[in-house]
Assembly symmetry: C2
Homo-oligomer: 341 residues x 2
């Protein structure tokens, strides 16, 4: 049997609203009354019903996070960070994954669990700008991830072009010249890996190295198996890169496995740089050099964006494009194993 404000009020001999006032720490309550009510609350074990409170106040205290795939450690780690960041603002996280399907991404933007959420953090892969423009739900939406849209929603993402250039710069500094980009996908200019590919091109161009388009290797997806298949295809086609810049760590890991099977040494024959800084990359036989986006910052900024827009009662403040930091983690896949270690 549930105990409500009414029960507490009856038990304490005051009105329902007075109990509500005590619960909500309303200022003007005599200490005597307050204590009397508190005693009744403790005696009955009263817990507020958040659903009713939310119906009344119009807020649920829940924000949704929609990522492509929880099985991808990057998104899992990010989800963990979002849960923590949300908790800091007394929000809880409702989770969904879109499996990288445009349809599911669309569904999520059109009102994930209709009205139970105060805001939505979405990492789109396939969604197009017109899909987002057609959105009717009015809960604040924050976009994260590499894709960019020219739309009135906050967007949180590291500077992907600069990050990619840093990775390629590192490989160039090591003397590599035939640097493959592993992770192209589709022909659209807005393909998900667009920016990192641009960074690859830009840094090569800036260094006067001819970008060999044959070294832009496509993948079918973003997982280890896709990286393995993509790398195998590249090698089967007769190409011999001396370095690989992978779209993400999973692809890099799959590629390294294939190289290991074929007797290619990392980094002696082929240096590898990934992207995401998964914990996984720090424990392989060859630890992975990678670009580390600041996941905590991404999560924190995304949550704060929603909290602020909710507090701001509507369109206060212009759309923001925030760029958390990143760092290049130099490890064995480019430097080789340190003898001292």
């Amino acid at each position: 049997m549930r105990v409500s404000l009414k029960d507490v009020a009856a038990h304490a001999g005051v009105s329902v609203k007075t109990v509500s006032n005590v619960v909500n720490k309303y200022q003007h309550v005599t200490p005597a009354t307050r204590e009397k009510v508190q005693r009744a609350i403790d005696a009955l074990g009263y817990r507020p019903n958040l659903t009713a409170r939310h119906l009344r106040k119009g807020r649920t205290g829940i924000i949704a996070l929609a990522v492509p795939e929880l099985g991808n450690p990057y998104f899992a780690e990010l989800a963990g960070a979002v849960v923590d960041a949300a908790a800091a603002h007394d929000y809880t996280v409702l989770l969904d994954h879109t499996q990288g399907s445009r349809e599911r991404e669309l569904l999520v933007t059109q009102g994930f669990r209709a009205r139970v959420i105060d805001g939505l953090i979405l990492n789109p892969l396939e969604l197009e700008a017109e899909d987002l423009a057609a959105r009717t739900d009015d809960a604040p939406l924050v976009l994260i991830g590499e894709r960019r849209y020219d739309l009135p929603h906050d967007h949180i993402a590291i500077d992907n072009i600069a990050a990619a250039r840093t990775a390629v710069r590192h490989l160039l500094d090591l003397g590599r010249r035939r640097i493959a980009f592993l992770g192209a996908r589709g022909d659209r200019p807005s393909q998900p890996s667009h920016l990192r590919l641009l960074g690859w091109q830009a840094e090569l161009a800036a260094s006067g190295v001819t970008a060999d388009e044959a070294l832009v290797a496509p993948v079918e997806g973003w997982d280890r198996a896709d990286g393995a298949a993509g790398m195998a295809a590249l090698l089967d086609a007769g190409h011999r890169p001396d370095a690989v810049f992978a779209y993400n760590d999973l692809i890099a890991i799959g590629a390294m496995r294939v190289m290991s099977e074929r007797g290619l040494r990392v980094p002696e024959d082929v240096a590898v740089v990934g992207f995401d800084d998964l914990t996984e990359g720090r424990y392989g036989a060859v630890t992975l050099t990678t670009v580390a986006p600041d996941k905590q910052a991404i999560a924190r900024l995304a949550v704060e964006s929603i909290v602020e827009r909710l507090a701001g009662e509507g369109g206060v403040g212009a759309t923001r494009r925030l760029h958390p930091g990143f760092a290049l983690m130099e490890r064995e896949s480019t430097l080789g194993r340190r003898p001292a270690n």
Copy 2:
């Protein structure tokens, strides 16, 4: 501006309840009325307010999942499976992680987001039986994971003892005799890794192999770094196992990294078996032999347990102990690399 049943009713020229009836697919509504209402719904873009519905019906359509750590791929993959299983029953998943802290686990059982959830799936690590017994919240609770409690809650977990025995059996069949167990923790008989340790002991005993307690190696946590530290300590103590059965894949991966650094070959010098079948284990330089719990089944059974108890209007049906299947995935860390592959 939000549109409610009232708005739709006014627009369609019928009562609020009739609109509600249409929305809920109530049988006795004339096709004409139904269509008229439907048109109004479409015109106004009405979406039901789940908070209000919940207040009235007592259900939210949300189940919570609390796991120790989302950064652990096992839990991330499991969370993904739970999201999918829940979606099959029109439920959405609210996520939290407990960081393996007893306090946070306790908080979660005592009414995660007070009353907004219909049920809770919890994977406890540190929680004690008395904590669970003291629980006041009456939403259905399903436990998953290795730890067992003699309490009236459904529990979904593979047969950990049998699974551990299978793993050890595999190592024995390969001729290994000095098999370490890497992943003991604390002295409590109810320590989290209890059952797998029991399985290790049982299978050794059944095979007439003396269990060397010096080969039961402790770890500080469940991640790769803990496995690395535990393995290093074991080796530093002068022990030379010819096989390692690790509590989970992450520990096994950490241990393999340490062995690689020290020039020990896997599996020639030391064979390794893990537990969880993380995708990660399939792409290392040495792929990992591991026990694969049926994660889809665990997720499905956990969700179904909650759905059934909610449908059953209270204590219908006795407490269940369900054991989804598992399989031993034999890979390079015990078999060596196949030349053909």
